[in-house]
Symmetry: C2
Subunit: 193 residues, 2 copies
């Protein structure tokens, strides 16, 4: 129990890791804890749109912890030029090693495996988790007037590419994402290709 | 799907409802979304300490939405003198009516019933949800040096009373809460009785 409480207190730091996304009302950027909460609620609400049958509690738990590694590794913007080559994967792996090991061994293994499953994006739950993890920032981007994308000089082509694997989890959510991007473009809030 | 997305966007506002609790590092107050995330993770980690066998996914989902009514009703501090008589229950009921009804009818009923179950505190899941909902602010209060309690002139007696029903959900967590309160008192961070 002492180890479990240490883990929960350590996780408090996710509330201080800022993402690039703004809240829907554009008042400020959201943090990792808020994003993981929003994603876990979306898991319950949107699970029925998964292409494949899935284990909803597993999906929820995966989304509840999918970004805790950023406590150590920091948030990485998917549109950053060095996204794939900046050592992000190594930093996040080391973070997972440290943070989940705060738990008793059985729970440490469970969460660590769940996080690796999310990163590998090969199971139905991981496909759907990735879809929700992309859908929410796109919805927030529309509501907040495309602010995060503009601030970082992101183009429509980049947004479409980065969000094209939503279909692996849910064809229905891919349609939503595509329509939202088109809407933002049509309102002149994203530069052309 | 359109209704589900409306609901998820409406829930974004929970990120702007500030609670009285400070983050563990005392840098600022936490918001409802962060608290619900923390509580849902705690549900997974601490479920084994429940007095009674319970449905963990149900507990997680209950905690993921237990405070969304505060989007309309606002956060109420359990130590406020008028806590029980301020019309809080009526405001929250109206909020639940409005917010969950954004969803398709089957999901609206499901979430609405889950929230009412949380409020009624009669099932094993609701007992454990209440225990976790009390445990986390007590842990944060210790880490942040008792700031929230001091700011509101809360006494040791009030804190002990307000956190005495943790035992309904978990005898083990009640012991933790009692020990943490004693620790805060022994460090002179809470006025005596």
């Amino acid at each position: 129990l002492a180890r479990q409480l240490d883990f929960l207190l350590e996780l408090d730091r996710a509330k201080s890791v800022l993402r690039r996304s703004y809240l829907a009302d554009a008042s400020r950027r959201e943090d990792d804890a808020e994003h993981m909460w929003h994603a876990a609620v979306a898991a319950v609400v949107l699970a029925e749109h998964s292409n494949e049958p899935l284990d909803v509690p597993r999906l929820m738990t995966m989304l509840l912890v999918h970004d805790v590694v950023e406590i150590d590794a920091g948030d990485t913007f998917i549109y950053d030029p060095g996204y794939a080559t900046s050592g992000r994967a190594e930093r996040e792996k080391a973070a997972a090693e440290r943070i989940f090991a705060l738990l008793p061994p059985d729970q440490a293994c469970y969460f660590r495996a769940l996080w690796e499953e999310f990163e590998a994006r090969e199971t139905p739950e991981a496909h759907m988790a990735a879809a929700i993890d992309r859908l929410l920032p796109v919805l927030l981007a529309r509501s907040s007037g495309g602010q995060a994308w503009r601030e970082h000089g992101v183009s429509e082509r980049q947004v479409r590419e980065a969000n094209s694997h939503v279909r692996e989890g849910s064809a229905a959510l891919q349609e939503v994402v595509d329509a939202v991007i088109s809407d933002v473009v049509s309102r002149g809030l994203l530069p052309g290709r």
